[in-house]
Amino acid sequence: MYDQRKIKDKLFFVFVLSVSIIAVTLMLHMIFVTLSNGIPVILRAGLGFFTSIPPTPLSKNIGGIAPALAGSFIMTLTSLPVSISLAFFSAVLTTEFPRNPLSIIIDVVAKSLASIPTIVVSMVIYLIVVVPMGKFSALAGVLALTIISLPYSYTYISTYLRSIPATYREAAYSIAMGRWRTIISVFVPIIRRGLLITVLMTSARILGETAAILFVTGRYRLGVSVSLLDPTDAVPLLIFDYMLTPYKNFQEISWAAASLLLLSYLIIFTTTKFLVKEVKL
């Protein structure tokens, strides 16, 4: 009787371990093949990968992804501050007045925004921005990216704000600090690392988003566009378009772009891990 239970216990461990190993192997396999397919292409293309435009389908040279890089960079940098500041004010509202009906509504709204499929956001922005403007634009992309990243940054910031012990608030009020003063000069410094993590993770989210900008940016690949009002490209869009083509050089470019995207995410993730460790010390 005792033995049977012990065997069951052992078998259970073997099961848990082997399924987990499969899961982790799949995940690491993905990282490995992306980097091993992409990085050699980048090395072969050299600096041109960052400065040239994509090749024509059957051409011999690899070309580059400059339009997509510029587009991703500009859209991320424009959308990030909008997303973070809207999320910050909303998070302050819901944490400072947790019982106010408006706060409860905003908290629910933020959660529903997170559940909107990102491709739906793209269809909406197409109708209310692209159609009236008469053309695709980086601006439309910025708006779509802001919408999909808002619930994300909101969750981060409100979690950090809620983790501040009430004693800090009481201390600030007891020396007659106003509520805004308390937030700016007491709370923000306390959660400054958390805010930095929010900024990093939100930018990773924005950089990697595909579906939300599918119908709004225009995929302009003939040159680098720096204007917000003109069509542009983005790295995930380029990967998406090129990976499904039959052309070998397009697929190579697509792997190279994917490995670049993955590398930047890995760097961002490692930085946030480092920041978290610092907080614990």
């Binding site: 216990d9 995940m27 690491l28 559940s115 109708l127 995410y265 890995l266």
Partner: protein, 307 residues
Amino acid sequence: MAMGVSRKDKIFFLSLIPPSITLLGILVVTVITILSNSLESLSLYGLSLIASSIWDPENLKYGLLAPILGSITTSTLAILTALVFSIPLTILIAEYSSGFVKNVLSSIVELMGGIPTIVYAIWASTYFASLLKQYVMDPLHAYFSIIPLFSCKPITGFSIFTAGVSIGVSIVPYVTSMILEAYQNIPQALREACLGIGCTKYESVKVLMSLAKPAVLASLILGFARSLGETTIAVATVGNSMYLSSCIFSPGITVSALIASQFANAYLYKYAESVLYASALFILFIAIVLSFVGLSMLIKWRVKVVV
């Protein structure tokens, strides 16, 4: 003084309203835009829109049955896949590992959760689809072809099944982190009580998992909502065919894959855009409802078990 403070409080509160209202505005505009643009096709085609499966814009014939069933099937497969991997991962992290190993494992899960889905998509279409065909679909077809679900021979590896499992792999980190959080929130006293009467680890895990069941269910509901909207992985692996089949090894389509492939040219055809908005309305509605159900189940569970 008291008056002054409360007036200042009011100004503080009012200053926060405009940015917060923006969030509400975005949600309202999204729902209204999708709703109003799908009305035309909904009133024109009515129920036949979801009762037939056809995409023939030149003859103005539309039926969304295949993508709707495709979305539901892939999402179901996705949460089953997520369940198979997430429970063992949770148990391994929470019960069998500690210190450095635990840190590494939970970091891997966290890391994978943030990887852009486009990377999952390119990996799944190039490698995972053929792996699945060789080691899962072909054997299942060989031995269980009597079951209608497995009755057709997998040809390319791109199928409803592949899309479902690939999306499932991509939501494993999301589902695992929710189940893990719930599991670790179960009061320590319950585990100790079980160990105190001589439970083996397996038996104590069984007891704790049964307590966490509602939270697991809620995580799966939230995972389903997320899978419904998944676009890039679906487009890359589902095979994009409007043909309706009872076999999950045949190529199919999902709502988001249909939108991704047809929306850009939809303005050329009458009603095509409106039909696509109607299909978007379908996934939008289900996703919002399910995330409410899932989130409130999680909150209810936490109040009951944790506190």
